[in-house]
């Protein structure tokens, strides 16, 4: 009897510790990021750092303006949205509203499989197939461009968007569908005027999480975005998103130097951006459950 109770308490503790472990990791990461990025702001003014238009970390004197990197990240992310929203939301609508049960049983795992392909494979695909294609079609000096990265990131974010949007559509109670059909609405009217508005904030959540996946993706952009740290003017130019800058330069930046600290600062900013994305997604998806009368 006593042993049993001891065991039970032990289990409880173990699981409590495990549950809090990720919180500790998160706090640890934030602490390290903050601590390692602070020194750069003693050298460079925070606003100059963010809005500076030149990123020449290895020149003498070095320039630490990350606006080109931020813009590159924003560009490829928005480009990815243009690709992944129609693909992801469209396939979610198809899976949920049109596909039969058997089709769905085949298609959904395939979409999810797409999510499990390592990003280096996507990057490889971009380099080998998309790059020469873009180069030819647009007559470019190089096919490694923001467009290339946008397309690949968009495809990569599609499973995230599709699977979350599909969940959102699944949450829409069947009663709404029936109510709509019962007053003589067609399938299309039901879809566009009842189901999509009801699932709207859930779909918005899906899109934001897809964006957060795209902006944080490193390997692919490192391989296909082209890597040039200048402010982009068109999608057909090479760009260097924040993640690519960190990954490419970390190895060559002398530890403890300004460049090193600047890269940590970029990571911190990236972390803050994805954090904001996720908080927004969480807020929206909560209001979504409330709106549908599901538990808040």
């Amino acid at each position: 009897m006593k042993i049993l109770r001891f065991k039970e308490r032990l289990y409880k503790w173990i699981f409590t510790i495990l549950a809090f472990a990720s919180l500790f990791f998160l706090m640890g990461i934030v602490l390290v990021l903050v601590k390692e990025s602070l020194p750069i702001f003693q050298k460079v003014n925070f606003f100059k750092f963010i809005f500076g238009r030149s990123w020449y970390p290895t020149y003498n004197p070095a320039e630490f303006g990350i606006l080109p990197l931020i813009l590159a990240s924003i560009w490829v992310t928005l480009g990815a949205v243009v690709v992944c929203v129609p693909l992801g939301v469209g396939s979610a609508l198809y899976l949920n509203e049109l596909a039969g049960r058997r089709q769905k049983a085949v298609l959904k795992p395939i979409v999810e499989l797409l999510a499990s392909i390592p990003s280096v494979v996507f990057g490889f695909f971009g380099v080998v197939i998309l790059t020469p294609l873009l180069q030819k079609v647009f007559h470019l000096p190089t096919g490694l461009t923001a467009l290339n990265a946008s397309i690949i990131l968009g495809v990569m974010a599609t499973p995230t968007v599709c699977s979350i949007a599909e969940d959102a559509l699944n949450y829409v109670p069947n009663a709404f569908r029936e109510a709509s059909f019962a007053v003589g609405a067609t399938r299309w009217q039901t879809l566009t005027q009842v189901i999509i508005p009801a699932a709207g904030s859930g779909i918005a959540t899906a899109i934001i999480l897809g964006m957060s996946r795209a902006i944080g993706e490193t390997m692919t952009v490192l391989m296909v975005a082209g890597g040039s740290a200048v402010i982009p003017h068109t999608f057909l130019e090479p760009v260097r998103p924040m993640t690519a800058a960190i990954a490419a330069e970390m190895g060559e930046a002398p530890m403890g130097g300004s460049h090193y600290h600047a890269l940590f600062a970029i990571a911190l900013i990236l972390f803050v951006i994805t954090f904001i994305f996720n908080v927004i997604a969480e807020i929206i998806s909560r209001s979504f459950r409330v709106k549908l009368g599901l538990s808040g």
Partner: protein, 253 residues
């Protein structure tokens, strides 16, 4: 019979997959009368009533044999569109299911999907429908509030108003009071009696008093079979079948 037949089920068998839910059901729905269907849970009442507006089509892997007629029109004929049937045969569900839209939009939706664009007409129709469903007084000052803020009884009357706005010929009620309090229930029963002037009504209920109070005809279902069908008065005072008698005297179900 003295009455005009509005809808008719002829030799209806219905299957969910291989499970037979209805067995050779024959039943008439008379014009401007209330037809009640009673029977214990799971005996096929919902399945049956949902055949009258082709709602079971939304369920995968089902098979229907036999015919459902609406004024002599075979509603399942390949030439007939379910959407057109549902414009003539409306439905109120067991659980109130207003859309997550405003009160106004809940009513106007049915008009809009039917192609009506005239704003003034829609506004008038929304008001009329809400009045007919006896909920106007409670909502007239907050037509732009979310319908989900209403109480259960109000939501159900809103759903009835939504159905009325479409001006169908038949209204199907599937246990409309199952989740409501006695006062709301009384209001809806009163409403059904009122609506009978303009509509043919079918109501499923497992509340026998309710069937006795509101209906002109009653059908008793058991395990997918229509055991007995006739004038409500006869079914309740002089049932022909032993099983009907046992059910209405409360010996099972």
């Amino acid at each position: 019979m003295d009455n005009k037949i509005k809808m008719q089920a002829k030799n209806v068998d219905f299957f969910y997959g291989k499970n037979q839910a209805l067995k050779n059901v024959n039943l008439n729905v008379y014009a401007n009368k209330v037809t009640a269907m009673i029977g214990p849970s799971g005996c096929g009442k919902s399945t049956f009533i949902r055949l009258f507006n082709r709602m079971n089509e939304l369920v995968a892997h089902t098979t229907l044999k036999g015919k459902i007629l609406l004024d002599d029109l075979d509603i399942n004929s390949p030439l007939v569109d379910a959407v057109d049937i549902r414009k003539r045969v409306g439905m109120v569900f067991q659980k109130p299911n207003p859309f997550p839209k405003t009160i106004f939009e809940n009513i106007s939706y049915g008009l809009k999907v039917n192609g009506i664009k005239d704003k003034a007409f829609i506004e008038q129709k929304v008001e009329d429908s809400l009045k007919k469903a006896v909920i106007w007084a409670e909502v007239k000052d907050r037509l732009n509030d979310s319908a989900l803020k209403l109480s259960g009884g109000q939501q159900q009357r809103l759903c009835i108003a939504r159905c009325l706005a479409v001006e169908t010929e038949v209204i199907l009620f599937d246990e409309p009071c199952a989740s409501l309090d006695p006062i709301s229930t009384a209001k809806i029963e009163e409403l059904i009696l009122e609506l009978k002037k303009d509509y043919s009504i079918v109501i499923v209920t497992h509340n026998m008093q309710q069937a006795a109070r509101v209906s002109d005809y009653t059908g008793f279902f058991l395990l997918g079979e229509l055991i007995e069908f006739g004038k409500t008065q006869d079914i309740f005072t002089a049932p022909k079948d032993k099983k009907t008698e046992a059910y209405i005297t409360g010996r099972f179900g």
